[in-house]
Amino acid sequence: MIEQVAEPLPTSGFEKTVLELEVNNHPGVMSHIVGLFARRAFNVEGILCMPLPDGTVSRIWLLVFADQRLEQLIKQLEKLVDVRSVRQHGADHEVFVQAERFFR
């Protein structure tokens, strides 16, 4: 009831990083994932998602800032039942570099 008091989070000067998720491909998975980011007040800079060829699994690419809460966020992602794996790459990963030409 009383206001919770916490040190303000530093918000600038963080590197970007790319997350690669493999998730079960069914309706609702995207809401679980983007909902988690929104709920934990964590911005997603970019997002790409496509089913893999066999159709049961989708791959999601996320571009996020590697702030101090990222590790916590990855653990929370890994808890989602439909998330099979989470991998972290550098910001220079070609997936968003290549996608950039569609955003000019």
Partner: protein, 555 residues
């Protein structure tokens, strides 16, 4: 080959999960399921008077048994009414399976009558949720819902079932196995050994027990560890009962309304062994000032808790019961005379003041008198407010699952339906509910459910004609600008309870209140006891907003 409707399949899968009771309220979109319940006649349905009541009745069952319990609601408003109870289960890690009816699949997304996206709404407050798209999916979804609710860190799972899926015919060859709790993660022995070494080497260790100790059935092991290593022990609100409060090593509850000696012992510790706890802000206070000299060993089944609030020196990812069992043989028996003597001195210097403890007409005295009339088999349930904190401080809790309180969400209205659920699941026990005049009104309609069931629930209403905890904060922290925390209009609760069919009396008008209380508490069946409480009585000690746990204020 088995052939049946989706609705019958749901009921039969619940039977196979061992479900004997479920709580709910019917409505159009869930009627096929209710019809199957009627035809099977195998599961007792508890008709709540509000879906939130149904959710908390199921929670009461789950909290006393540790097994997943089920609540049911129709689509739309039925489903939204369940949400608070689901969120409450999420924050307190209570295994719950919520089943909701939904409009037929073809109408989903058309803003049909009583359509809400309960799947979307429940994502942030469940461990997982399902929108079932065919009767065949039920074969997988229902057992999985139970498996998820009970495995790892327990929690709520929602299953939304469109009406046409309930009506759909299905044929199948084999019944699926019921969903059960999965074994916990494999324990890292090096981590256990390191934890043991840290405990063995520490000079001023403190054991910190949370709700996970209760959830995993690890309380006896936790007590054994404390005794073997001579570790003073604090408990969170959710951990109360893990160690008997009158155990020589118990320092009771820590945090915002804990004893000062408990917070000081944590402050002075050089090692804090946190077991099955998430270092919630009500327990920890200002996180950066918490246990500044301690290495933290954090044992939990949920990896995401490590480093969320405090960076542990050592994290042990495990079911806490398995971890404690592995730890015990590696921990050296010690006396730790100096540290225990120091903690005893803290206890003597900063005792937990309980004014009026001998006077049944005052808050602490009332709680003590209730405890005196009952034995340790009783279940103690609370609502949310001052009465909850007084009960947490003063009731001599001595066993795990004895104490049912809404910890993480702090939901007023939790108490009455949770008490009913507890009494249904364990009819041999007396269930006592400490509630407030604000909280009781939030699910007062469940008095009708209670009267119908004649469950053994003793309601102790601590009536200060105010939202006491709010009133206290306005007095202490908002310059005594009191707004919206005193009730201008009093309620004749005894008449209300009698009107619902629950025997009731006012402790105020009784010549020998202690005798009347004892008689009411020991007579089987429901009873409602209204007890006047001084509105100017506050909960102390208290850690003010944003302060460290060591900066507690006293009366």
């Amino acid at each position: 080959m088995e052939t049946m409707t989706g609705a019958e399949l749901m009921v039969r899968l619940l039977e196979r999960q061992g479900i004997t009771h479920l709580a709910g309220i019917p409505g159009g979109a869930i009627l096929p399921f209710y019809d199957a319940l009627a035809q099977r006649g195998t599961i007792q349905h508890i008709l709540a008077r509000h879906e939130q009541g149904a959710g908390f009745i199921a929670q009461g069952m789950a909290r006393v048994t540790g097994q997943a319990a089920v609540c049911v609601a129709s689509s739309g408003p039925g489903a939204t009414n369940l949400l608070t109870a689901i969120a409450d289960a999420h924050l307190d890690s209570i295994p719950l399976v919520a089943i909701t009816g939904q409009v037929p699949l073809a109408m989903v997304g058309t803003d049909a009558f009583q359509e809400v996206d309960v799947y979307g709404m429940s994502i942030p407050i469940t461990k997982h949720n399902f929108l079932v798209r065919s009767a065949a999916e039920l074969l997988e979804v229902i057992p999985q819902a139970f498996r998820l609710a009970q495995s790892g860190r327990p929690g709520p799972v929602l299953v939304d079932v469109p009406k046409d899926v309930q009506n759909q015919k299905i044929s199948f060859e084999h019944w699926p196995e019921p969903g059960v709790r999965e074994p916990g993660p494999e324990i890292s022995l090096p981590a256990i050994e390191q934890a043991a070494a840290l405990i063995n080497e520490a000079e001023r260790p403190v054991l910190y027990l949370g709700g996970g100790v209760v959830a995993s059935g690890a309380a006896p092991l936790a007590v054994a560890l404390a005794e073997q290593a001579s570790m003073p022990t604090v408990m969170t609100l959710m951990g109360l009962g893990a160690m008997p409060v009158d155990h020589p090593l118990s320092l009771g509850m820590l945090g915002m309304h804990g004893a000062r000696y408990a917070n000081f012992a944590v402050q002075e510790s050089d090692l804090l062994v946190v077991v099955g706890a998430r270092l919630d802000d009500r327990a920890v206070g200002k996180a950066s000032a918490f246990a500044p000299n301690a290495k933290i060993v954090h044992i939990d089944i949920d990896r995401a808790e490590f480093g969320k609030i405090k960076t542990p020196y050592l994290a042990v990812h495990a079911d806490v019961k398995a971890a404690l069992a592995a730890l015990l043989p590696r921990v050296r028996p010690q006396m730790r005379k100096r540290w225990l003597a120091h903690v005893a001195a803290l206890k003597a210097r900063y005792p937990l003041a309980m004014p009026g403890r001998d006077d049944v007409r005052q808050h602490y005295g009332l709680i003590a008198a209730v405890a005196e009339a009952l034995d340790d088999s009783a279940v103690v349930v609370t609502d949310v407010g001052q009465h909850q904190m007084w009960a947490a401080q003063a009731y001599p809790l001595r066993r795990p699952r004895q104490w049912l309180t809404s910890g993480g969400l702090g939901t007023m209205g939790f108490g009455l339906p949770a008490a009913i659920g507890a009494a249904l699941a364990e009819p041999q026990r007396t269930v006592v509910l400490f509630t407030g005049d604000g909280s009781i009104k939030m699910n007062i309609q469940e008095l009708a459910t209670l009267a119908e069931l004649q469950a053994n629930v003793k309601i102790v209403l601590m009536d200060n004609r105010s939202l006491g905890l709010v009133y206290q904060q306005q007095n202490l922290f908002y310059g005594k600008r009191v707004i919206a925390s005193r009730y201008g209009h009093g309620v004749d609760f005894v008449t209300v309870a009698l009107g619902f069919g629950v025997p009731a009396f006012d402790l105020d008008g009784v010549a020998d209140p202690k005798a009347a209380l004892t008689e009411a508490l020991t007579t089987p069946g429901p009873v409602f006891i209204r007890c006047p409480i001084d509105a100017e009585a506050f909960v102390y000690p208290m850690v003010p907003p944003g302060a460290a746990n060591t900066e507690m204020i006293e009366a």
